[in-house]
Symmetry: C2
Subunit: 137 residues, 2 copies
Amino acid sequence: MKIGELARATGTHIETIRYYERIGLLPAPDRTAANYRSYGDAHRARLSFVRHSRELGFTIDEVRSLLDLSDHPARDCGEADRIASTHLEQVESKIAQLAALRDELARIVGRCRGGLAGDCRVIEALGDHRLCAADHP
Amino acid sequence: MKIGELARATGTHIETIRYYERIGLLPAPDRTAANYRSYGDAHRARLSFVRHSRELGFTIDEVRSLLDLSDHPARDCGEADRIASTHLEQVESKIAQLAALRDELARIVGRCRGGLAGDCRVIEALGDHRLCAADHP
DNA sequence: TATGCAGCCTGTAGCAACTACGGGGTCAAG
DNA sequence: CTTGACCCCGTAGTTGCTACAGGCTGCATA
C-alpha cells in the first residue's frame, strides 16, 4: 500500500510516517518504479504499535526500546515491564500534580466575582503564591 | 539585584529570565556600568506572577493576557476569569484522559508475568489496540 | 491528446518553552 | 595578580511532530 493508505489505516499523518522513517523508528520501505513508498502488513503492524505506544504516552525513546523487545522475542521481557511500570508511575504522579493544580485553579476561579481587574482575585492569586492552598508543581 | 539573585529569589533559571525578556514578557531592566541587568521589586513581582502562572499550566500567551490585565486594573476582569475557567476545563479533561491512560497501563502492566518478550502481554497489548479496555487518547 | 487534479517526492523551517553552550567581559577575595 | 564566581551575547539544541515550497506521477475526463 502507498503512504496515504497506510496513513488512513493507522490514523497517522503522512508527514509523521515519513518522520518516523527519518528517525529510524520505521524501516524504509521498498519503492515503486515512481519512487513511491510501498508498505506491507508488517509495516502497518509496526506503525500501529508505535501509534498505540505514543497514545499511551511513551516517549519515542521508550517506543524504540519496546520495539526492540518486540523484534527480539527471545529476550527477557523484564525491560518492557520496567518501562511500562515506570511510565505508569509517571502518569500517576502527573495525575496527582494536575489534580492539585485543578483544585488550585478551581479555588482561584471561584473567587472571581466580576468587576475590575484591579480587584480581581484571579489576578491577585496569580501574583502571590502564598495565597495558594497547597503546593503545586 | 542582579540576574542571579532574581533567579534564586523566584526559582527561575537565568536563561529563562533572559528568554522572557527577549520575548517581551518581562521589561528590559536597567543596566549597571558593567552592563549587568539590574532588577527591582517590580521585576521580581512580575516574574513571580509569570512563574506562578506557568506552574499552573497557563501558556505564555495566556500569561501575556493575564499580565496585561494586571497592568490595567481599571479594565474588566471577565477576561481573566474566562482564561482561568477555560484552562480549568482543559486541566480537567487532561486529568480524565490521563486517568483512562493510567487504567490501561495498569491493566497492561498487570498482565506481565515475566518470561520472554515473545510471550509478553505488555508487548502484545501495545501491538493490538483491540486489546484495550476502553478508548484512550 | 491534452489537461486537470489528487497524490506522492524532497528538504527545510516552524511550533512551545525553554535549556545548553561557546567565547568572552567583570569583580571581589586571597 | 590570579582564581573563581558571576555576568554578557548569540546561536543551536531539545521533543514530536506539522507545514510549507517546489516539483514529479498517475489516472480520469473533455
